[in-house]
Amino acid sequence: MTRLSTGWKRAAAVALASVSMFSVTAASALEITVWCWDPNFNGATMKEAAERYAALHPDVTVNIVDFAKADLETKLQAQLASGTTDGLPDIVLIEDYGAQKYLQSFPGAFEPLNDKVDYSGFAPYKVELATVNGQTYSLPFDSGVTGYFYRSDLLAEAGFDAAALENITWDKLIEIGKAVKEKTGGTLLPIDPNDAGWLRIMMQSAGSWYFNPDGSVHIADNPVLKASIETYQRLLAAGISKPVAGWTEYTGSFTSGDTLSTFTGVWMTGTIKANADQSGKWAIAPLPALDGVEGATNASNLGGSSWYVLSSSAEKAEAVDFLAEIWGKDVDFYQKILVNQGALGSLLAAREGEAYKASDEFFGGAPVWQNFSDWLSAIPAVNYGIFTNEADAAVVAQIPNITSGGNIDEIIAAIDSQVRQQVQ
């Protein structure tokens, strides 16, 4: 028994010693802590930015901490709600759809950057989504500017070249899909019945959203939303799509040649280019526009995120300066992250750089980044509001009815009432 108890004592001593050794967390005077969620994407771009800033300011180090995206949101939400600022980072990455929720739910928690950053140089929709009462809080990062990605080789077999897909409408795309099906038997689009991304893309392409600019619900009387759901029903009824379950099956569908195209955000480029054997067989056209809708464009957005400085930050001045100097101005930096991470930033001046001007043999030698950059500046600004996720869930709940060809007015009424219940 004595052997046991000395063993215990030793274990306890070791335990205590290591606790005190590792619980020292005080940061050095000029350390900027950043939270983000993908070490290979936004984490890697932040690392590149940090190295550039350190070259100019050797006294500043940037400490990048990555969490799973949902985890980061849980953490940020819990810590902001607790009202204690201990442990909050200096800079945090927030997905654009959730920006208004954080900015409006926690007033004063984030630092407005209007004095330090020239927002006229950024894509207007990215600035708008992080603005509350005339103050803009974000340093806009990656864009989800949309495009229509298609297998140029297989569509050419059916007689459709790039010109035939330039600035078309959805109804035109449906015609093309039918013609392709008839001539080659190929299926044009994969559709995931549990994802409402298509609706977000269609709505924003015509400058509309689930919410009005003042934040009030805009669903039951929203002509763009109605036109989007009608378009989607026509798309499904045309028999040119194939249902897929989940993300991996969705991406697997068009990279394996099972389906011929998809419409999605620019960030899909990397996934498509990972299939080196398909080089030269892909092309990217502008997103189709909605038919007969006021304000319809061929540009939209899916996803994207931005950097925010916490007001509680001890290194606030350095954090803001870091974002403004590198992320706000450095055109060369944006070339680097475009090449290395495939990250399309929101700084419009970046298009003047080498990498943005380069053409891509994978996409038939087209200047894809110049194109995306053109579309980026044309994306209509909308107010994502506080409840985009809730509205999305209400739409997904109605997708079975939409898919089975249900009455659109009833479907919209159901979405509207579910959203209104949650918004109250």
Binding site: T33, W37, D38, F41, N63, V65, A68, A78, G87
Partner: protein, 272 residues
């Protein structure tokens, strides 16, 4: 076996059991096979072993500071388990062995607290830890778990089978109360401790939400947090994720197999 109906029933039973076994084992099999494949193959649904195991392992070890992360996980789970067993078993023992007017009321109150979800306690607990200046420390994760109501309840139930005569005999022999607990009760209840070790170690090892909230830096993260981080990338490397998942599963498996026999005894409430 002569009765064809009985034979049929037997076949049906085995078929059902084989299906159930397959359903519960398949995820593990998938994890092991996935670790040997490239991410692109896993997405395409490949179920045969591949050749990418070494590459996945090297990517995993290059992107994760494994010695440090493993230390964090083992330290938190190990110290947490030892303290939980000591404190909660002492409480369970006390509740059963010592009579008091308030005993049942206090115990009932404790059981009621089991029904409060952790999400409701999370933010007050975080504020408390921030006031103690314990954010981003091991203590912040270990301390809230050491008084586990479930383990107190479990030990109280098990203690009902502990013969009071043993305690009385020990008292007559001149042992003090703490000596009775340490030298008589603990050895006698070793099966119960073994079963509780598995339960508490697994709970600590897999603890997710609270470490996520309270840990702030890469050096402090536990293995479960790291593996979750790997899956959330825009283009996750599933082969690497599977390697991480194997490392996250292994310790609980090892502990379970080491203590398996005692675990079963402990669950049956055996006193030897």
């Amino acid at each position: 076996m002569s009765n064809p109906l009985a034979l049929l029933g037997r076949v049906a039973t085995y078929a059902l059991l084989i299906i159930a076994a397959f359903v519960s084992v398949f995820p593990f099999l998938w994890m092991l096979i996935g670790a040997t494949n490239y991410s692109a193959d896993i997405i395409k649904g490949k179920v045969t072993p591949g050749t990418a195991l070494l590459q996945n392992i090297s990517v995993f070890f290059n992107s994760v500071d494994m010695p440090r992360i493993l230390f964090n996980s083992f330290f938190i789970a190990g110290v947490g388990t030892a303290l939980t067993l000591l404190i909660s078993s002492l409480a369970g023992y006390g509740f059963e062995m010592f009579r008091s007017k308030f005993r049942e009321k206090v115990f009932g109150g404790l059981l009621l607290m089991l029904s409060i979800p952790f999400a409701a306690l999370m933010i007050p607990l975080f504020i408390m830890m921030a006031n103690f200046k314990m954010i981003n420390t091991y203590q912040a994760i270990i301390l809230p778990t050491v008084a586990s109501i479930f383990i107190i309840f479990y030990f109280r139930q098990a203690t009902k089978a502990f013969p009071h005569e043993l305690r009385d005999a020990a008292r007559i022999d001149g042992l003090k109360e703490w000596q009775i607990f340490l030298y008589v009760y603990m050895p006698v209840m070793r099966s119960t401790y073994a079963a509780a070790t598995i339960i508490v170690f697994m709970a600590n090892w897999n603890n997710y939400l609270w470490p996520l909230i309270v840990l702030q830096t890469n050096e402090m993260k536990t293995l479960t947090l790291v593996v979750a981080g790997l899956t959330s990338a825009y283009t996750p490397d599933f082969g690497v994720v599977m390697v991480g998942a194997i490392f996250a599963t292994l310790p609980t498996l090892v502990i379970f197999f080491l203590l398996q026999r005692r675990f079963v005894e402990g669950m049956l409430g055996a006193v030897k």
